[in-house]
Symmetry: C2
Subunit: 333 residues, 2 copies
Protein backbone atom coordinates (compact mmCIF):
# COMPACT_ATOMS: atom_id res chain seq x y z
CA UNK A 1 0.00 0.00 0.00
CA UNK A 2 0.93 3.66 -0.19
CA UNK A 3 2.18 5.47 2.93
CA UNK A 4 -0.86 7.77 2.73
CA UNK A 5 -3.96 7.55 0.52
CA UNK A 6 -7.32 9.27 0.00
CA UNK A 7 -10.32 6.92 0.10
CA UNK A 8 -13.59 8.61 -0.90
CA UNK A 9 -14.17 10.80 2.14
CA UNK A 10 -11.19 10.16 4.38
CA UNK A 11 -7.46 9.50 4.45
CA UNK A 12 -5.70 6.26 5.42
CA UNK A 13 -2.13 6.24 6.59
CA UNK A 14 0.39 3.70 7.76
CA UNK A 15 1.23 4.27 11.45
CA UNK A 16 5.02 4.63 11.24
CA UNK A 17 5.45 4.67 15.01
CA UNK A 18 4.50 0.96 15.02
CA UNK A 19 6.94 -0.16 12.32
CA UNK A 20 8.87 -2.40 11.91
CA UNK A 21 7.24 -4.67 14.46
CA UNK A 22 3.61 -4.05 13.46
CA UNK A 23 1.95 -2.91 10.24
CA UNK A 24 -1.08 -0.88 11.34
CA UNK A 25 -3.11 1.71 9.41
CA UNK A 26 -5.04 4.68 10.76
CA UNK A 27 -8.31 5.95 9.24
CA UNK A 28 -8.26 9.74 9.46
CA UNK A 29 -11.73 11.29 9.40
CA UNK A 30 -11.16 14.50 11.38
CA UNK A 31 -8.56 17.24 11.60
CA UNK A 32 -7.52 16.52 15.19
CA UNK A 33 -6.57 12.96 14.27
CA UNK A 34 -4.51 14.22 11.33
CA UNK A 35 -2.71 16.83 13.45
CA UNK A 36 -2.01 14.22 16.09
CA UNK A 37 -0.63 11.83 13.45
CA UNK A 38 1.67 14.55 12.10
CA UNK A 39 2.83 15.69 15.55
CA UNK A 40 3.67 12.24 16.86
CA UNK A 41 5.28 11.21 13.54
CA UNK A 42 2.76 8.49 12.69
CA UNK A 43 3.15 10.14 9.28
CA UNK A 44 6.54 11.73 8.65
CA UNK A 45 8.97 12.71 5.90
CA UNK A 46 8.65 16.13 4.29
CA UNK A 47 6.77 14.98 1.15
CA UNK A 48 4.39 12.71 3.12
CA UNK A 49 3.49 15.38 5.66
CA UNK A 50 2.79 17.77 2.78
CA UNK A 51 0.22 15.29 1.45
CA UNK A 52 -1.09 14.68 4.98
CA UNK A 53 -1.61 18.42 5.39
CA UNK A 54 -3.48 18.64 2.08
CA UNK A 55 -5.70 15.70 3.05
CA UNK A 56 -6.33 17.38 6.42
CA UNK A 57 -7.64 20.49 4.69
CA UNK A 58 -9.77 18.28 2.42
CA UNK A 59 -11.32 16.68 5.52
CA UNK A 60 -12.07 20.14 6.94
CA UNK A 61 -13.58 21.33 3.64
CA UNK A 62 -15.78 18.24 3.45
CA UNK A 63 -17.02 18.77 6.99
CA UNK A 64 -17.69 22.47 6.32
CA UNK A 65 -19.78 21.55 3.26
CA UNK A 66 -21.75 18.85 5.12
CA UNK A 67 -22.41 21.00 8.19
CA UNK A 68 -22.82 24.33 6.43
CA UNK A 69 -19.79 25.88 8.13
CA UNK A 70 -18.20 29.02 6.61
CA UNK A 71 -14.87 29.08 4.73
CA UNK A 72 -13.35 30.84 7.72
CA UNK A 73 -13.73 27.52 9.58
CA UNK A 74 -11.70 25.71 6.93
CA UNK A 75 -9.07 28.45 6.94
CA UNK A 76 -8.73 28.22 10.72
CA UNK A 77 -8.39 24.44 10.54
CA UNK A 78 -5.81 24.80 7.77
CA UNK A 79 -3.80 27.16 9.98
CA UNK A 80 -3.78 24.61 12.80
CA UNK A 81 -2.66 21.88 10.39
CA UNK A 82 0.15 23.98 8.92
CA UNK A 83 1.41 24.70 12.45
CA UNK A 84 1.60 21.03 13.45
CA UNK A 85 5.29 20.91 12.56
CA UNK A 86 7.35 23.99 11.75
CA UNK A 87 10.47 22.89 9.87
CA UNK A 88 9.36 21.04 6.73
CA UNK A 89 8.19 23.64 4.21
CA UNK A 90 6.17 21.03 2.27
CA UNK A 91 3.45 21.11 4.92
CA UNK A 92 2.63 24.82 4.67
CA UNK A 93 3.17 24.70 0.90
CA UNK A 94 0.62 21.90 0.39
CA UNK A 95 -1.91 23.47 2.78
CA UNK A 96 -1.65 26.79 0.95
CA UNK A 97 -2.02 25.10 -2.43
CA UNK A 98 -5.25 23.23 -1.63
CA UNK A 99 -6.70 26.32 0.10
CA UNK A 100 -6.38 28.01 -3.29
CA UNK A 101 -9.20 25.73 -4.52
CA UNK A 102 -11.50 26.31 -1.54
CA UNK A 103 -13.73 28.77 -3.45
CA UNK A 104 -14.62 25.90 -5.84
CA UNK A 105 -15.93 23.62 -3.07
CA UNK A 106 -14.83 20.54 -1.14
CA UNK A 107 -14.62 18.30 -4.22
CA UNK A 108 -12.11 20.72 -5.77
CA UNK A 109 -10.02 20.75 -2.58
CA UNK A 110 -10.01 16.94 -2.47
CA UNK A 111 -9.09 16.78 -6.13
CA UNK A 112 -6.16 19.18 -5.58
CA UNK A 113 -4.97 17.18 -2.55
CA UNK A 114 -5.08 13.94 -4.55
CA UNK A 115 -3.22 15.71 -7.36
CA UNK A 116 -0.45 16.63 -4.90
CA UNK A 117 -0.14 13.01 -3.86
CA UNK A 118 0.00 11.81 -7.49
CA UNK A 119 2.57 14.47 -8.33
CA UNK A 120 4.67 13.30 -5.39
CA UNK A 121 4.84 9.81 -6.88
CA UNK A 122 5.83 11.14 -10.31
CA UNK A 123 8.28 13.66 -8.81
CA UNK A 124 9.97 10.93 -6.77
CA UNK A 125 10.49 8.71 -9.79
CA UNK A 126 11.90 11.57 -11.86
CA UNK A 127 14.13 12.64 -8.98
CA UNK A 128 15.33 9.10 -8.33
CA UNK A 129 16.42 8.50 -11.92
CA UNK A 130 18.13 11.89 -12.17
CA UNK A 131 19.81 11.27 -8.81
CA UNK A 132 21.03 7.83 -9.85
CA UNK A 133 22.52 9.31 -13.04
CA UNK A 134 24.25 11.98 -10.94
CA UNK A 135 25.70 9.47 -8.47
CA UNK A 136 27.11 7.42 -11.31
CA UNK A 137 28.87 10.60 -12.49
CA UNK A 138 30.04 11.66 -9.02
CA UNK A 139 31.69 8.39 -8.03
CA UNK A 140 33.78 5.97 -10.02
CA UNK A 141 33.01 3.18 -7.56
CA UNK A 142 30.79 0.60 -9.27
CA UNK A 143 28.91 -0.95 -7.66
CA UNK A 144 28.85 1.83 -5.06
CA UNK A 145 28.37 1.99 -1.29
CA UNK A 146 25.87 4.62 -0.13
CA UNK A 147 25.63 6.10 3.36
CA UNK A 148 22.27 7.55 4.40
CA UNK A 149 20.51 9.12 7.36
CA UNK A 150 16.95 8.98 8.72
CA UNK A 151 14.34 7.64 6.28
CA UNK A 152 13.93 9.07 2.80
CA UNK A 153 12.20 6.05 1.34
CA UNK A 154 8.67 5.24 0.29
CA UNK A 155 7.59 5.76 3.90
CA UNK A 156 8.71 9.40 3.81
CA UNK A 157 6.64 10.01 0.69
CA UNK A 158 3.46 8.66 -0.88
CA UNK A 159 5.53 5.90 -2.47
CA UNK A 160 9.00 5.21 -3.96
CA UNK A 161 11.08 7.69 -1.96
CA UNK A 162 13.57 10.52 -2.53
CA UNK A 163 17.08 9.66 -1.26
CA UNK A 164 16.21 6.00 -0.84
CA UNK A 165 14.39 6.21 -4.18
CA UNK A 166 17.78 6.94 -5.76
CA UNK A 167 19.26 3.96 -3.92
CA UNK A 168 16.44 1.81 -5.28
CA UNK A 169 17.13 2.87 -8.88
CA UNK A 170 20.84 2.17 -8.44
CA UNK A 171 19.92 -1.27 -7.08
CA UNK A 172 17.72 -1.96 -10.11
CA UNK A 173 20.57 -0.90 -12.39
CA UNK A 174 22.97 -3.28 -10.63
CA UNK A 175 25.12 -0.33 -9.57
CA UNK A 176 24.57 -0.60 -5.81
CA UNK A 177 26.86 -2.62 -3.57
CA UNK A 178 25.50 -1.84 -0.11
CA UNK A 179 24.04 0.79 2.19
CA UNK A 180 25.08 1.97 5.64
CA UNK A 181 22.26 3.68 7.50
CA UNK A 182 22.40 5.81 10.66
CA UNK A 183 19.91 4.58 13.27
CA UNK A 184 18.70 8.20 13.70
CA UNK A 185 18.04 8.82 17.35
CA UNK A 186 15.84 9.71 19.05
CA UNK A 187 13.03 8.09 17.06
CA UNK A 188 15.14 5.58 15.10
CA UNK A 189 13.73 6.25 11.64
CA UNK A 190 16.92 4.71 10.26
CA UNK A 191 16.91 1.41 12.13
CA UNK A 192 13.12 1.08 12.23
CA UNK A 193 12.09 2.36 8.80
CA UNK A 194 15.09 2.50 6.45
CA UNK A 195 16.30 -0.97 7.49
CA UNK A 196 12.72 -2.22 7.05
CA UNK A 197 12.49 -0.83 3.51
CA UNK A 198 15.97 -2.05 2.54
CA UNK A 199 15.13 -5.52 3.85
CA UNK A 200 11.92 -5.56 1.80
CA UNK A 201 13.90 -4.50 -1.29
CA UNK A 202 16.60 -7.13 -0.69
CA UNK A 203 19.36 -4.51 -0.43
CA UNK A 204 22.46 -5.42 1.61
CA UNK A 205 22.81 -2.97 4.50
CA UNK A 206 24.21 -2.31 7.96
CA UNK A 207 22.93 0.00 10.67
CA UNK A 208 25.37 2.22 12.59
CA UNK A 209 24.82 4.54 15.54
CA UNK A 210 24.53 8.14 14.36
CA UNK A 211 27.87 9.19 15.75
CA UNK A 212 29.60 6.48 13.65
CA UNK A 213 28.39 7.92 10.32
CA UNK A 214 31.32 10.37 10.08
CA UNK A 215 33.76 7.51 10.74
CA UNK A 216 32.14 5.33 8.06
CA UNK A 217 32.86 8.22 5.69
CA UNK A 218 36.36 8.98 7.01
CA UNK A 219 37.42 5.31 6.77
CA UNK A 220 36.44 5.07 3.10
CA UNK A 221 33.47 2.78 3.75
CA UNK A 222 31.03 4.95 1.76
CA UNK A 223 31.43 6.27 -1.78
CA UNK A 224 28.65 8.82 -1.50
CA UNK A 225 26.28 10.23 1.14
CA UNK A 226 22.60 10.68 0.22
CA UNK A 227 20.11 12.48 2.47
CA UNK A 228 16.73 14.18 2.18
CA UNK A 229 15.67 17.70 3.17
CA UNK A 230 12.87 19.38 5.09
CA UNK A 231 13.51 22.90 3.80
CA UNK A 232 16.10 24.32 1.43
CA UNK A 233 16.77 28.04 1.77
CA UNK A 234 17.32 30.42 -1.14
CA UNK A 235 21.10 30.36 -0.59
CA UNK A 236 21.27 26.54 -0.73
CA UNK A 237 21.48 25.88 3.02
CA UNK A 238 19.66 22.63 3.83
CA UNK A 239 17.56 21.90 6.93
CA UNK A 240 17.22 18.16 7.47
CA UNK A 241 16.92 15.61 10.29
CA UNK A 242 19.35 16.20 13.13
CA UNK A 243 22.59 14.42 12.28
CA UNK A 244 22.89 15.52 8.66
CA UNK A 245 25.37 18.30 9.44
CA UNK A 246 28.06 16.00 10.94
CA UNK A 247 27.84 13.77 7.85
CA UNK A 248 28.30 16.83 5.64
CA UNK A 249 31.36 17.94 7.63
CA UNK A 250 32.90 14.47 7.37
CA UNK A 251 32.05 14.10 3.67
CA UNK A 252 33.62 17.47 2.82
CA UNK A 253 36.81 16.55 4.68
CA UNK A 254 37.00 13.12 3.03
CA UNK A 255 36.16 14.40 -0.46
CA UNK A 256 33.04 12.21 -0.56
CA UNK A 257 30.04 13.76 -2.38
CA UNK A 258 27.02 14.77 -0.28
CA UNK A 259 23.82 14.65 -2.32
CA UNK A 260 20.51 16.07 -1.05
CA UNK A 261 17.39 14.58 -2.66
CA UNK A 262 14.15 16.56 -2.44
CA UNK A 263 11.20 17.52 -4.62
CA UNK A 264 10.95 21.12 -5.85
CA UNK A 265 8.30 21.75 -3.17
CA UNK A 266 11.05 21.53 -0.52
CA UNK A 267 12.82 24.59 -1.97
CA UNK A 268 11.79 27.71 -0.09
CA UNK A 269 12.77 30.90 -1.92
CA UNK A 270 11.07 32.94 0.83
CA UNK A 271 13.72 31.86 3.35
CA UNK A 272 17.02 33.61 2.68
CA UNK A 273 19.36 31.28 4.55
CA UNK A 274 19.57 28.42 7.04
CA UNK A 275 19.72 30.86 9.94
CA UNK A 276 16.15 31.90 9.12
CA UNK A 277 14.73 28.36 9.33
CA UNK A 278 12.79 27.54 12.47
CA UNK A 279 14.26 24.38 14.00
CA UNK A 280 11.65 22.28 15.79
CA UNK A 281 12.48 21.47 19.40
CA UNK A 282 10.56 18.34 20.39
CA UNK A 283 9.64 16.75 23.71
CA UNK A 284 12.51 15.83 26.04
CA UNK A 285 11.03 12.40 26.66
CA UNK A 286 11.96 11.29 23.14
CA UNK A 287 15.62 11.58 24.22
CA UNK A 288 15.19 10.40 27.80
CA UNK A 289 13.41 7.15 26.95
CA UNK A 290 13.50 4.45 24.30
CA UNK A 291 10.67 2.02 23.82
CA UNK A 292 9.39 2.96 27.26
CA UNK A 293 12.80 2.34 28.85
CA UNK A 294 14.33 5.31 30.71
CA UNK A 295 17.80 6.04 29.36
CA UNK A 296 18.78 8.65 31.97
CA UNK A 297 18.45 9.24 35.71
CA UNK A 298 15.10 10.42 37.03
CA UNK A 299 14.87 14.20 36.77
CA UNK A 300 17.42 14.46 33.93
CA UNK A 301 16.76 17.13 31.31
CA UNK A 302 17.28 16.97 27.55
CA UNK A 303 17.44 19.37 24.62
CA UNK A 304 15.70 17.67 21.69
CA UNK A 305 16.68 19.53 18.51
CA UNK A 306 14.87 17.71 15.70
CA UNK A 307 16.73 19.21 12.72
CA UNK A 308 20.03 20.75 11.81
CA UNK A 309 21.21 23.07 9.06
CA UNK A 310 23.93 22.11 6.59
CA UNK A 311 25.56 25.18 5.04
CA UNK A 312 25.47 25.34 1.23
CA UNK A 313 29.26 25.08 0.88
CA UNK A 314 29.11 21.50 2.21
CA UNK A 315 26.35 20.38 -0.19
CA UNK A 316 27.80 18.84 -3.36
CA UNK A 317 24.43 18.68 -5.10
CA UNK A 318 20.69 19.03 -4.60
CA UNK A 319 18.65 16.77 -6.88
CA UNK A 320 15.00 17.62 -7.46
CA UNK A 321 12.36 16.25 -9.83
CA UNK A 322 13.39 18.95 -12.31
CA UNK A 323 17.11 19.70 -11.97
CA UNK A 324 20.48 19.37 -10.26
CA UNK A 325 21.83 22.32 -8.27
CA UNK A 326 25.45 22.38 -7.04
CA UNK A 327 25.62 24.67 -3.98
CA UNK A 328 29.23 23.83 -3.05
CA UNK A 329 30.24 25.04 -6.51
CA UNK A 330 28.39 28.31 -5.94
CA UNK A 331 25.07 27.50 -7.65
CA UNK A 332 21.92 28.67 -5.90
CA UNK A 333 18.39 27.20 -6.13
CA UNK B 1 33.03 4.74 47.11
CA UNK B 2 35.68 4.52 44.43
CA UNK B 3 34.84 3.09 41.01
CA UNK B 4 37.33 0.29 41.61
CA UNK B 5 39.22 -0.67 44.78
CA UNK B 6 41.56 -3.36 46.09
CA UNK B 7 40.39 -5.01 49.33
CA UNK B 8 43.01 -7.33 50.86
CA UNK B 9 42.87 -10.22 48.40
CA UNK B 10 40.33 -9.15 45.80
CA UNK B 11 38.97 -6.19 43.83
CA UNK B 12 35.58 -4.54 44.19
CA UNK B 13 34.04 -2.54 41.38
CA UNK B 14 30.86 -0.65 40.73
CA UNK B 15 28.81 -2.38 38.01
CA UNK B 16 28.38 0.50 35.55
CA UNK B 17 25.96 -1.45 33.36
CA UNK B 18 23.38 -1.13 36.16
CA UNK B 19 23.69 2.63 36.66
CA UNK B 20 21.86 4.97 37.00
CA UNK B 21 18.91 2.85 38.10
CA UNK B 22 20.79 0.54 40.48
CA UNK B 23 24.02 0.91 42.46
CA UNK B 24 25.52 -2.60 42.58
CA UNK B 25 29.10 -3.69 43.27
CA UNK B 26 30.91 -6.79 42.05
CA UNK B 27 33.52 -8.70 44.07
CA UNK B 28 36.20 -9.86 41.69
CA UNK B 29 38.16 -12.88 42.95
CA UNK B 30 39.21 -14.52 39.68
CA UNK B 31 40.57 -13.47 36.32
CA UNK B 32 37.56 -14.63 34.29
CA UNK B 33 35.25 -12.37 36.28
CA UNK B 34 37.59 -9.41 35.71
CA UNK B 35 37.84 -10.06 31.97
CA UNK B 36 34.07 -10.38 31.75
CA UNK B 37 33.62 -7.09 33.65
CA UNK B 38 36.02 -5.32 31.27
CA UNK B 39 34.48 -6.83 28.13
CA UNK B 40 30.88 -6.00 29.00
CA UNK B 41 31.81 -2.53 30.29
CA UNK B 42 30.87 -3.16 33.92
CA UNK B 43 34.14 -1.29 34.40
CA UNK B 44 35.02 1.18 31.63
CA UNK B 45 36.91 4.38 30.91
CA UNK B 46 40.56 4.14 29.88
CA UNK B 47 42.05 4.94 33.33
CA UNK B 48 39.66 2.60 35.18
CA UNK B 49 40.25 -0.35 32.87
CA UNK B 50 43.99 0.17 33.32
CA UNK B 51 43.54 -0.25 37.08
CA UNK B 52 41.15 -3.18 36.49
CA UNK B 53 43.81 -4.87 34.37
CA UNK B 54 46.46 -4.35 37.08
CA UNK B 55 44.13 -5.80 39.73
CA UNK B 56 43.42 -8.74 37.42
CA UNK B 57 47.12 -9.56 37.26
CA UNK B 58 47.34 -9.19 41.05
CA UNK B 59 44.55 -11.76 41.42
CA UNK B 60 46.41 -14.16 39.09
CA UNK B 61 49.69 -13.65 40.98
CA UNK B 62 47.98 -14.32 44.30
CA UNK B 63 46.44 -17.53 42.98
CA UNK B 64 49.77 -18.66 41.53
CA UNK B 65 51.44 -18.15 44.91
CA UNK B 66 48.69 -20.00 46.81
CA UNK B 67 48.53 -22.92 44.40
CA UNK B 68 52.21 -23.11 43.56
CA UNK B 69 51.65 -22.30 39.87
CA UNK B 70 54.61 -21.07 37.77
CA UNK B 71 55.12 -17.46 36.61
CA UNK B 72 54.21 -18.61 33.09
CA UNK B 73 50.66 -19.09 34.39
CA UNK B 74 50.52 -15.47 35.55
CA UNK B 75 51.99 -14.23 32.26
CA UNK B 76 49.38 -16.17 30.27
CA UNK B 77 46.58 -14.75 32.43
CA UNK B 78 48.03 -11.25 31.97
CA UNK B 79 47.98 -11.72 28.21
CA UNK B 80 44.30 -12.66 28.31
CA UNK B 81 43.52 -9.63 30.46
CA UNK B 82 45.41 -7.23 28.17
CA UNK B 83 43.47 -8.58 25.18
CA UNK B 84 40.05 -8.01 26.76
CA UNK B 85 39.70 -4.66 24.96
CA UNK B 86 42.07 -3.49 22.25
CA UNK B 87 41.75 0.28 21.91
CA UNK B 88 42.56 1.85 25.29
CA UNK B 89 46.33 1.74 25.73
CA UNK B 90 46.03 2.11 29.53
CA UNK B 91 45.02 -1.55 29.84
CA UNK B 92 48.15 -3.05 28.26
CA UNK B 93 50.31 -0.35 29.89
CA UNK B 94 49.08 -1.18 33.42
CA UNK B 95 49.30 -4.96 32.86
CA UNK B 96 52.88 -4.59 31.63
CA UNK B 97 53.79 -2.39 34.56
CA UNK B 98 52.61 -4.77 37.30
CA UNK B 99 54.16 -7.76 35.49
CA UNK B 100 57.47 -5.98 35.99
CA UNK B 101 57.14 -6.73 39.72
CA UNK B 102 56.22 -10.40 39.32
CA UNK B 103 59.73 -11.63 40.19
CA UNK B 104 59.28 -10.06 43.66
CA UNK B 105 56.12 -12.06 44.44
CA UNK B 106 52.36 -11.52 44.65
CA UNK B 107 52.56 -8.87 47.38
CA UNK B 108 54.79 -6.75 45.15
CA UNK B 109 52.37 -7.10 42.24
CA UNK B 110 49.45 -6.09 44.46
CA UNK B 111 51.41 -3.15 45.81
CA UNK B 112 52.23 -1.95 42.28
CA UNK B 113 48.57 -2.30 41.20
CA UNK B 114 47.42 -0.29 44.22
CA UNK B 115 50.10 2.30 43.41
CA UNK B 116 48.66 2.66 39.89
CA UNK B 117 45.21 3.29 41.34
CA UNK B 118 46.56 5.89 43.79
CA UNK B 119 48.53 7.58 41.02
CA UNK B 120 45.36 7.73 38.93
CA UNK B 121 43.62 9.73 41.66
CA UNK B 122 46.56 12.15 41.96
CA UNK B 123 46.97 12.40 38.17
CA UNK B 124 43.27 13.22 37.74
CA UNK B 125 43.38 16.03 40.26
CA UNK B 126 46.52 17.53 38.70
CA UNK B 127 45.03 17.18 35.22
CA UNK B 128 41.70 18.68 36.27
CA UNK B 129 43.26 21.83 37.74
CA UNK B 130 45.61 22.30 34.78
CA UNK B 131 42.67 21.73 32.42
CA UNK B 132 40.46 24.24 34.24
CA UNK B 133 43.24 26.85 34.02
CA UNK B 134 43.57 26.14 30.30
CA UNK B 135 39.83 26.45 29.65
CA UNK B 136 39.76 29.79 31.42
CA UNK B 137 42.49 30.93 29.02
CA UNK B 138 40.87 29.45 25.91
CA UNK B 139 37.44 31.00 26.33
CA UNK B 140 36.41 34.44 27.47
CA UNK B 141 32.95 33.18 28.39
CA UNK B 142 32.57 33.24 32.17
CA UNK B 143 30.81 31.30 33.47
CA UNK B 144 31.28 28.93 30.55
CA UNK B 145 29.15 26.25 28.85
CA UNK B 146 30.94 22.96 28.25
CA UNK B 147 29.92 20.28 25.76
CA UNK B 148 31.09 16.72 26.48
CA UNK B 149 30.80 13.19 25.15
CA UNK B 150 30.62 9.74 26.76
CA UNK B 151 31.71 9.61 30.41
CA UNK B 152 35.04 10.99 31.56
CA UNK B 153 34.05 11.40 35.19
CA UNK B 154 34.88 9.61 38.41
CA UNK B 155 33.25 6.49 36.96
CA UNK B 156 35.79 6.36 34.12
CA UNK B 157 38.65 6.50 36.63
CA UNK B 158 39.31 5.43 40.19
CA UNK B 159 37.77 8.70 41.35
CA UNK B 160 37.45 12.40 40.35
CA UNK B 161 37.61 12.07 36.54
CA UNK B 162 39.54 13.48 33.60
CA UNK B 163 37.34 15.61 31.30
CA UNK B 164 34.52 15.73 33.81
CA UNK B 165 37.14 16.31 36.50
CA UNK B 166 37.96 19.60 34.74
CA UNK B 167 34.25 20.45 34.68
CA UNK B 168 34.10 19.75 38.40
CA UNK B 169 37.00 22.12 39.16
CA UNK B 170 35.38 24.84 37.04
CA UNK B 171 32.15 24.30 38.97
CA UNK B 172 34.00 24.66 42.30
CA UNK B 173 35.60 27.86 41.02
CA UNK B 174 32.20 29.29 40.07
CA UNK B 175 33.30 29.43 36.43
CA UNK B 176 30.86 26.84 35.05
CA UNK B 177 27.45 27.78 33.69
CA UNK B 178 26.16 24.48 32.34
CA UNK B 179 27.01 21.27 30.52
CA UNK B 180 25.52 19.66 27.43
CA UNK B 181 26.25 15.94 27.24
CA UNK B 182 25.84 13.57 24.30
CA UNK B 183 23.84 10.48 25.28
CA UNK B 184 26.55 8.31 23.65
CA UNK B 185 24.88 5.44 21.86
CA UNK B 186 24.93 2.53 21.85
CA UNK B 187 25.59 2.06 25.58
CA UNK B 188 24.49 5.52 26.72
CA UNK B 189 27.44 6.35 28.95
CA UNK B 190 26.46 10.01 28.56
CA UNK B 191 22.83 9.80 29.62
CA UNK B 192 23.34 6.97 32.12
CA UNK B 193 26.67 7.90 33.72
CA UNK B 194 27.58 11.51 32.96
CA UNK B 195 24.08 12.77 33.73
CA UNK B 196 24.18 10.71 36.94
CA UNK B 197 27.48 12.26 38.04
CA UNK B 198 26.43 15.79 37.09
CA UNK B 199 23.19 15.35 39.02
CA UNK B 200 25.14 14.19 42.09
CA UNK B 201 27.43 17.23 41.76
CA UNK B 202 24.50 19.63 41.36
CA UNK B 203 25.69 20.80 37.93
CA UNK B 204 23.07 22.17 35.51
CA UNK B 205 23.02 20.02 32.37
CA UNK B 206 21.05 18.83 29.37
CA UNK B 207 21.37 15.59 27.43
CA UNK B 208 21.31 15.65 23.63
CA UNK B 209 21.32 12.82 21.09
CA UNK B 210 24.82 12.30 19.72
CA UNK B 211 24.01 13.69 16.30
CA UNK B 212 22.91 16.99 17.90
CA UNK B 213 26.33 17.68 19.46
CA UNK B 214 27.69 19.33 16.29
CA UNK B 215 24.60 21.57 16.15
CA UNK B 216 24.99 22.57 19.81
CA UNK B 217 28.48 23.71 18.82
CA UNK B 218 27.46 25.34 15.51
CA UNK B 219 24.64 27.30 17.18
CA UNK B 220 26.96 28.84 19.77
CA UNK B 221 25.47 26.86 22.67
CA UNK B 222 28.89 25.62 23.88
CA UNK B 223 32.00 27.66 24.63
CA UNK B 224 34.33 24.67 24.70
CA UNK B 225 34.27 20.92 24.01
CA UNK B 226 35.98 18.59 26.50
CA UNK B 227 36.46 14.87 25.83
CA UNK B 228 38.66 12.02 27.07
CA UNK B 229 40.90 9.64 25.14
CA UNK B 230 41.58 5.92 24.92
CA UNK B 231 44.88 6.18 23.07
CA UNK B 232 46.86 9.16 21.79
CA UNK B 233 49.30 8.41 18.97
CA UNK B 234 52.78 9.90 18.67
CA UNK B 235 51.58 12.42 16.08
CA UNK B 236 48.76 13.71 18.32
CA UNK B 237 45.87 11.81 16.71
CA UNK B 238 43.31 10.86 19.37
CA UNK B 239 41.29 7.64 19.57
CA UNK B 240 38.22 8.11 21.75
CA UNK B 241 34.61 6.93 22.05
CA UNK B 242 32.75 6.88 18.73
CA UNK B 243 31.25 10.33 18.21
CA UNK B 244 34.27 12.39 19.19
CA UNK B 245 35.33 13.02 15.58
CA UNK B 246 32.08 14.79 14.52
CA UNK B 247 32.38 17.09 17.55
CA UNK B 248 35.96 17.90 16.54
CA UNK B 249 34.89 18.71 12.97
CA UNK B 250 32.11 20.98 14.21
CA UNK B 251 34.33 22.65 16.82
CA UNK B 252 37.05 23.40 14.25
CA UNK B 253 34.51 24.94 11.87
CA UNK B 254 32.91 27.03 14.65
CA UNK B 255 36.23 28.14 16.15
CA UNK B 256 35.34 26.46 19.45
CA UNK B 257 38.29 24.86 21.31
CA UNK B 258 38.39 21.06 21.55
CA UNK B 259 40.28 19.90 24.64
CA UNK B 260 41.27 16.26 25.21
CA UNK B 261 41.83 15.30 28.86
CA UNK B 262 43.87 12.17 29.59
CA UNK B 263 46.60 11.00 31.94
CA UNK B 264 50.13 10.54 30.56
CA UNK B 265 49.50 6.77 30.50
CA UNK B 266 47.09 7.29 27.58
CA UNK B 267 49.89 8.64 25.38
CA UNK B 268 51.28 5.86 23.22
CA UNK B 269 54.61 6.80 21.61
CA UNK B 270 54.78 3.31 20.06
CA UNK B 271 51.82 4.10 17.80
CA UNK B 272 52.84 6.48 15.03
CA UNK B 273 49.40 7.79 14.02
CA UNK B 274 45.67 7.26 14.34
CA UNK B 275 45.67 4.96 11.35
CA UNK B 276 47.73 2.46 13.35
CA UNK B 277 45.26 2.27 16.26
CA UNK B 278 43.10 -0.85 16.38
CA UNK B 279 39.46 0.24 16.59
CA UNK B 280 37.33 -2.20 18.58
CA UNK B 281 34.28 -3.51 16.72
CA UNK B 282 31.73 -4.67 19.31
CA UNK B 283 28.68 -6.90 19.17
CA UNK B 284 25.91 -5.87 16.75
CA UNK B 285 23.26 -6.39 19.42
CA UNK B 286 24.41 -3.29 21.27
CA UNK B 287 23.17 -1.26 18.27
CA UNK B 288 20.14 -3.40 17.44
CA UNK B 289 18.62 -3.30 20.92
CA UNK B 290 18.22 -0.86 23.78
CA UNK B 291 17.34 -2.01 27.26
CA UNK B 292 16.15 -5.32 25.80
CA UNK B 293 13.95 -3.54 23.23
CA UNK B 294 14.69 -4.36 19.56
CA UNK B 295 15.34 -1.14 17.62
CA UNK B 296 15.45 -2.71 14.15
CA UNK B 297 13.62 -5.36 12.13
CA UNK B 298 14.42 -9.01 12.85
CA UNK B 299 17.46 -10.07 10.85
CA UNK B 300 18.88 -6.54 10.54
CA UNK B 301 22.67 -6.21 10.68
CA UNK B 302 24.79 -3.53 12.32
CA UNK B 303 28.38 -2.33 12.28
CA UNK B 304 29.31 -1.39 15.84
CA UNK B 305 32.48 0.72 15.72
CA UNK B 306 33.26 1.56 19.35
CA UNK B 307 35.84 4.31 18.78
CA UNK B 308 36.85 6.90 16.24
CA UNK B 309 40.05 8.79 15.50
CA UNK B 310 40.28 12.57 15.62
CA UNK B 311 43.20 13.86 13.55
CA UNK B 312 45.72 16.03 15.42
CA UNK B 313 44.93 19.16 13.40
CA UNK B 314 41.43 19.26 14.96
CA UNK B 315 42.70 18.94 18.56
CA UNK B 316 43.21 22.34 20.17
CA UNK B 317 44.90 20.90 23.25
CA UNK B 318 45.67 17.69 25.11
CA UNK B 319 45.84 18.16 28.89
CA UNK B 320 47.64 15.53 30.94
CA UNK B 321 48.66 15.34 34.59
CA UNK B 322 52.01 16.81 33.58
CA UNK B 323 51.55 19.20 30.64
CA UNK B 324 49.50 20.81 27.89
CA UNK B 325 50.18 19.82 24.27
CA UNK B 326 48.69 21.78 21.36
CA UNK B 327 48.44 19.44 18.35
CA UNK B 328 46.44 21.83 16.13
CA UNK B 329 49.30 24.32 16.52
CA UNK B 330 51.79 21.68 15.42
CA UNK B 331 52.96 20.44 18.84
CA UNK B 332 53.44 16.69 19.22
CA UNK B 333 53.26 14.60 22.41
Amino acid sequence: MRTIEWRGDHAVLLDQTRLPHEVVTIDVRDVDTMIDAIERLAVRGAPAIGVAGAFGVAIAALRAEREGLPVTFVRAEAKRIAAARPTAVNLSWAVRRVLGRLHAGAAAVISEAVAISEEDVRANRALAHRGADLLEQLTHASPMRVHTHCNTGALACVEWGTGLGIVRVLHERGKLRSVTADETRPLLQGSRLTAFELTELGIDHQIVVDSAGPTVIARGLADVVVVGADRIAANGDVANKIGTYPLALAAARAGVPLVVAAPESTLDPATASGGDIEIEVRDEDEVLTLGGVATAPRGARALNLAFDVTPADLVTAIVTDRRVIRPAAGERP
